[in-house]
Amino acid sequence: MRVKTWLVASLVLIVLGLAAPAFADRRAEARDQVDFGITVAQRGLWKEAVLHWEKAVEIDKTYGAAWNDLGIGYEQLGRFDDARKAYEKALEVEPGNQMIRQNYDQFRENYDRLNRRRGGR
């Protein structure tokens, strides 16, 4: 019985041990995309930045910062519905992140105003 328990525990550790580096690799790869996106966004190349952030969230769907940056990029390109989805995904992944919350609140000010207008007439 004790041997069996040890076997199961060892298996779990092995699986976790294998998965952790894989996750770390994915995060590192996604982070490279995010970094590059930030670099080009700071030069005003928002379309290119968005391509990199889209790639980042494709690689790692749990990367809140990447979703946040993608939200900003979409907003800058006037793709407001996509921006809302990206910001909301960022908050779903990192609900306590105040920087994401601040970006989202500022975005909502414009977005809500725009939607009031869409139903304006």
């Binding site: 930030i38 900003i72 907003e75 800058q76 390109l77 006037g78 970006n103 414009n110 007439r121």
Partner: protein, 263 residues
């Protein structure tokens, strides 16, 4: 340079580099594009015709609004702005009523001594019978023909005095137990007075007389009742709030702000 100084320089450079590499967020300026609400590519000119105006008699909302919108349109969009006097649509409707002989249904008029200076439209109820002018396609088409088929801007502007009572918060200075001066927010009941602006901008196709877009906007400015704020400055303060939305009807506007990119 001694060995210890060199070591200190290297160490501080190392620290600086380390700190720089630790930065994981960046505040960036953004310009959010808000697309124009109507396509004005088929017009070369815009005519600010005049408004149904009322509310307070402290200013003439028709003239002031026409003047302000024209100057904003001249500097912030591409259509040529037609120079013309602001037409009082209230007088226009009254003239048409008089010539048709049909009396307009209006609330009973005030016959007091000050009634002579009172505006004809003081409330939304007064405004309603006048608004039929906006549906008169033939009238607007005729205006359009006179000015070479422009985009016509018209609508209603109610600038009214208002008073309110409510809780307001203000900072209050106090000295704490250590003798330091500090501030705290206190809430108190206050009487406020000010103005409200109820505007409805209507964009009409001068070729057909059809309404293209309507935008109702409401804004209020309230001040402590002890403060004496001139009506005209309050009017400009309120118009400042509605102008971006008005201009965004005809032209793409950019909203400037900042966002935080995170690594």
């Amino acid at each position: 340079m001694t060995a210890s100084t060199a070591a200190a320089v290297v160490a501080s450079l190392g620290l600086a580099a380390g700190a720089a590499s630790c930065v994981d967020f960046y505040e960036v300026p953004v310009e959010i594009p808000l697309q124009a609400k109507i396509d004005v590519s088929q017009f070369q000119r815009v005519l600010v015709y005049g408004f149904l105006a009322g509310g307070s008699n402290a200013i003439d909302p028709n003239t002031e609004t026409a003047r302000l919108l024209r100057s904003q349109l001249r500097s912030k969009q591409d259509l040529k702005v037609i120079d013309s006097d602001a037409v009082s649509l209230v007088d226009e409707v009254d003239r048409r009523q008089a010539s048709s002989g049909a009396p307009m249904e209006r609330p009973p008029a005030d016959t007091g001594p000050s009634a002579k200076n009172e505006p004809k439209i003081k409330t939304d109820k007064d405004l309603q019978p006048y608004q039929t002018i906006f549906d008169d396609k033939e009238f607007w088409k005729a205006i359009g023909e006179r000015y070479q088929s422009p985009l016509i801007v018209t609508g209603s502007v109610m600038f009214s005095e208002m008073t309110k009572s409510g809780m307001v918060s203000k900072p209050q200075q106090y000295v704490d137990s250590t003798g330091q001066t500090r501030y705290q927010e206190v809430h108190e009941w206050a009487d406020l007075k000010g103005y409200s602006l109820d505007s409805k901008f209507i964009f009409i196709d001068g070729r057909t007389g059809e309404q293209l877009y309507t935008e109702p906007l409401h804004e209020e400015s309230l001040y402590p009742s002890t403060q004496n704020t001139p009506a005209l400055s309050s009017y400009f303060e309120l118009m400042d709030k509605v102008l971006p939305s008005f201009l965004n009807t005809l032209s793409t506007q950019k909203i400037r702000g900042t966002r935080i990119l995170i690594k």
